[in-house]
Amino acid sequence: MRILSLLLALAFTVSFGHAQTADEIINKYLTATGGVEKWQKLEGIKMSAKVNQGGMDIPLDIFNLKDGRQMTVVTFQGKSIKQGVYDGTTLWSTNFMTMKAEKSDAETTENFKTALGDFPDPFLNYSAKGYKVELVGKETVEGTETFKIKLTKKPVLVEGKSEENVSFYFFDAEEFIPIMVESEIKVGPAKGQISQITMSDYQEVNGLFFPFSLGQGVKGMGSQPITMTKIELNPQVDSKEFVFTEEK
């Protein structure tokens, strides 16, 4: 009879498996990558990365702070060019022609402010942020079985109209880490096409796990790899670096 019950258990495991809910998957993910407590304590991240453009490795330093400030610094021919900088009020970038700071358009800034609080991960306390999650189903992505989770954040403005802000995260069904994020491109010439970001090479940094290799592209086309060379937690950074300075 013992054998029978073992067989019975086995039969059920093999044929029916264990149904997952979106919350279970997200909890497993947050636990697997360091735990909710550690993620909550995080104050900031500095990612040093490189992208290859026509044979040339271009270094990037990407800062993300808990209070929403962020900055990407591109170094090219010895010059620092800042992109996507937010100082708490203004979202700005360096213009490539004049090398001077210019504000982002009002809608982009407003949408950016709506998304404040994503740090360090949109799934962390997602409910308190007013986000919704839904397990859409299973899908094979990058040759691998994944759970497809729909994340609905606060609505964004698109050409003046409020639209749902939806992205789909594909969690590796074995490892419970996201390996791809898909979302519809809402502005610009690629509007209506699907943006894809792939993640791999998850590695530990002081107890937290980060993907050290990203691929960014549009579905059906190629993808641009971004490789992390170093990730620093709670980095020291001069507040002045973020500040938008108006031309006098």
Binding site: D57, G143, T144, K191, G192, G220
Partner: protein
Amino acid sequence: MNQLYRFLYLALLLPAFLPAQDATTRGKELFGDLRARQIGPAIMSGRISDIELHPSNPKVIYVGTAGGGVWKSNDGGARFNSVFDNHCQSIGAVAVDPSAPDNVVWVGTGETWTRNSVSFGDGIYRTGDGGLNWTKMGLEKSERIASIIVNPKNANEVYVGVLGALWSDSEERGVYKTSDGGKTWSKILYVNATTGCADMVMDPSNPSILYASFWEFRRTAWSFNSGGNNSALYKSIDGGKTWNKIHNGFPNGKLGRMGIAIAASNPKILYTVIESEQDKDKGLYRSDDAGASWKQLNNDFGIVVRPFYFSRITVDPRNPEVIAKGGLSGSISRDGGKTFRNLGAMHSDIHDIVFSINDSERMFVGTDGGVYRSWNGGTTMEIVANLPVSQYYHVSVDNQEPYNIYGGLQDNNTWYGPSSSPGGIEARDWHLIGVGDGFRALPHPTKRIVYSEMQGAENVWRTDLEKNKIRVIQPLPVIGDPKLRWNWNPPMATSALRPDRLYMGSQFLHKSDDMGDTWVKISPDLTTNNPSKTSQGNSGGLSTDNSGAENHCTIFTIAESPLDEKVIWVGTDDGNVQVTQDAGKTWKNVNTNLPGLPAGTWCYHIEASSFNKGTAYAVFEGHSHGDMQPYAYKTTNFGATWTSVLTPEVEGVARNIQEDFVNPNLLFLGTEFGLYISMNGGKSWYKFTNNMPAVAVYYLEIQRKTNDLVMGTHGRGVIILDDISPLRQITDEVLAKDLHFFKNRPAIMYEESSFGGTAGEMEFVGPNPSRAGQIVYYLKKRHSLGKFTMEIQNAAGQKVHEITPGKSKGINIVEWGYAGKVPKIAKGQTISREGATPAPIPAGKYKIVVQKGTETYTHDWDISYDPKSAITLEDRKLKEATVQKVFDMTQSLAYLVYELDETINGAKQLMSKNTGLSSTLTPMLAEYNKLKETLVVTTGDNYVSAGEPQLREDLASLFSNLASGLYKPSANELANLKRLEAEFNAAKVELQKLKGKHAAKLNELLVQNQLAAIAIKPFEEFLKLP
């Protein structure tokens, strides 16, 4: 107890009995980065079946197509994106839910414009997120959905008009209703198994009032019948519970297809277009009393033409007197239907017309050749140039570089265009080589000559592409011949062994050995020649439709063995498979030993094997008998026996099979729902879905130089799977390895002009194949955790480049553009674009080194120069040496400027700390700055305010020209280099002079003022600075 054991036994076996995985999932797990390339063209676009507007946002438009899925515009019809790739691409109706128009859209599959080549659907789908994800909501056997209406007051209530099966009886037709958002459906109006719902509208002011037209119709491969006593127009006033015929004022007798439309601005006004027995009774009818009575208004040609193909009526939502009707040209009336004029010039065959929600002058029209926009109420029309929904019947390829793709399209002529073009493959790259409906087109195997044809071989053309000359060459009947019966899509074939040979098939096989100038019949009638299937002149039903589309008992496929010209295979549309082994002296019908194949099934394609002259593959297609099963067989003994090469995992009727010419076990199969690949001779199949929509694949061809699989699809144009060679190497042994490198195409550093194309952003541009070097490998498991790096080493084992590897389970393709190092360039005020040019790498032996966790994998990689290069090896040495020289100069200059900057910065720092030193330091700084100003741009921006170019810019410009140049350095370039060397040397001397004059003093003052002396890093360290 027995019961329990039995249950356990079954439970344990369950996983084994279930297919381990479906063909789609297995494909997704294997094919990885192998990605189809959709090259269009969009210049002729394809048939549009339905256009649907968002009810409140004029920028959102949905387009349903005959074979290319659903496309959505978010920008008022400027551009469209495909949103339905994973599902059946034949679309009957699209409906936007008025209560949630941003998110909820319904799609009914199966086009309802029932021409001979119409496809079929597999049910109804719903999206809840504006088209990102779709769920099938049932009605799987509906085949054709004509209308979907969502109750504007209750989104759970949806009415669906199902036209249903075209080629067979079916009970899944009529009007269906769901009250639970599509979970369950009830059939609320059914007439009989031959009569379906052709059109349906709802009263916009009262969702309980519905009008539905029913149509009795049937097609066979040899006939079409429109009309019967069961066709009728019905009305319901109770949400579909009860229905009544509303025929008061209708003609007597049989009725055919009827369209129905309601005026949104006055729902009492209805229009219907009636097909009936007498020509005088046909045409447009109007009711002003909500269907209680009808009056005939007009039976002009534009209104009554081909009702099965055109019956859509659209009423201007703001004006009940303005109506438009689909037709050969499309018609518009501004007097309530009394008189019409044609719409503006556009592709003929108009299937749907819509008025924009806020402005009736803005119209969108769906034709056999794409969507057209009008800004002036239909007077002038402009094509949407980015809808690549073209419907190929056939494709072939030549051997040019890049190779060309030839093929004919449904109502859209015959074209050829390149597989690659500067900047991408755009409209200007496609050339006409035939008119009418286009079908087969075959390039001469060795000459720049192409054969093409129109429907029923009314014309077959031989075009000399070099001289731009045409000759009409179809076989003509001679004394003693019966009437030649040509299929709508007549077969032609060339010979691999006799370049000037051409075959064509009527009921006879015709052969020409002089490119079509003279013909001989080399067979008797090879068909069943069944008189009951050869009277297509009477086809059409209430409206005669003698287009030739129903010609039957004809030869449909011809294949000469590439190994023996005497072995010729012929397949007929009425089920014969004929083979001769003596060049046509004797023929044998070998259609008897085909297990599981219903007799008379259309033989769609025969593929003569490249490996054995007795071996062939035959594909049969039975949808015109209502049989939706795929059939493909292989014989190895000239057809004496056949075995099926398909497995139950293959979905959709099959039309073509392609045997690889290197690995006989590698087979490609085109079905109604996409591409399948087998690597074991048909024992199992993988569905290929990477950037490959579930589109009907009509024809497959392999280009032998590039190993590209070229697909002619009936709805998404030409789709190419570049370089299938990795698939030849897939074995169980390979699949068992953690990582396996494939041998792939030679790595060639192409040397070509870099000028691009001319297309604007609203024109479709097909992507080019990658010209980068490709590293192709298989991974057994997706790499997610830990480090995984890849580098390219030269023969000496030095790292040339670090590259990001792919991590997918399955096949990964990593590309490298052969870019060598980029010189470190001097820092200036401006950015130097030319300074970002990489040095070229030499051809030779390279090695790929992969570090995955603790495992190392290596792969040798040969990289060669372009065989068509304009430069000799000797000159290349000079080029490489010159490039290296300028590379070194560029970096030396960068170092020199760095030293200058450090000195200038030190002096400035000192001056700000001790202002008293100003009189000493200011002239010193001026001297250093004066030197610097000759070396780099020190003022302005990166655009037109930039300062004059200096030595850095001149060097970068020369470096860029030399490094990316395709010739040996010119005398002028070398002379220019001499000049720059002289300038640079003078600068070096000047710096030494300044240092001699000032350095000691400056350092002394720095130290005196508690500042660090100027410290210049060694050159190697300087190079590592960001």
